[in-house]
Symmetry: C2
């Protein structure tokens, strides 16, 4: 599963999202997919993607004169990197304060709260099981 969290820039996130959705895909495909959101020229997209490939964020395969790109990092890995960085930087590495922050600073629907609660219950069962082992 290779290297830890490369951190993605904003532009890279945009590209990555497209690649996760469309892969394997060529640069023009990605450019078109993003055309609505970001007015990037083909060159821009291609440049970013090649740099990402150089960094190991994307994998490439050359078929004739076409380059196919695939993600070399899962969405989950990228998310994890991002979240860990935030926790480390903004919350001194402490997870619960960040959770508190999230909970306090936002409104949730009843359903969302229920889901979260269920998750916590599950967590609790898991950890009590672990303790008994």
């Amino acid at each position: 599963m290779a290297r830890a969290s490369h951190k993605l820039t904003e532009a890279e996130w945009a590209i990555m999202q497209a690649v996760w959705k469309l892969q394997p895909c060529a640069a023009p495909t990605v450019q078109e997919a993003l055309a609505g959101a970001r007015k990037w020229s083909y060159s821009t997209v291609k440049t970013i993607m090649d740099r990402m490939a150089a960094k190991g964020l994307l994998a490439t395969e050359k078929i004739r004169n076409l380059v196919l790109y695939r993600s070399a990092v899962t969405r989950r890995q990228a998310q994890r990197g991002e979240v860990m960085r935030t926790i480390k930087q903004a919350f001194n590495g402490a997870l619960t304060p960040m959770m508190q922050f999230l909970l306090e600073g936002h409104d949730f629907t009843e359903q969302q709260l229920g889901e979260l609660e269920a998750l916590i219950h599950k967590k609790r069962r898991q950890s009590s099981k672990r303790r008994k082992r």
Copy 2:
């Protein structure tokens, strides 16, 4: 409360943390405070701080030949900016998936789980009250 979320770089976070703790403070103070963690020369620290002041992240006051710095952004604002960016970029703006991610990907002590649960209960009470209004 002025402008929205300037996003801080890693170096800026380090400086900010020190300033929040020590403010009002001069650049050399900050440099010394960080000396353990980062081997920055005085110039480096001062440069970053001045750039931060230019960006509106720090406020300065000149007394004689001494420049005093204060944060122009609260810790909470900065945290909020960071978290919002993460949610937006990595989770397409959806809060609960991010919470789920956090819950699933980490171990918590019984106490932490209890705290979180309490928070959710509080949340729920608040939101049901809101609904009745």
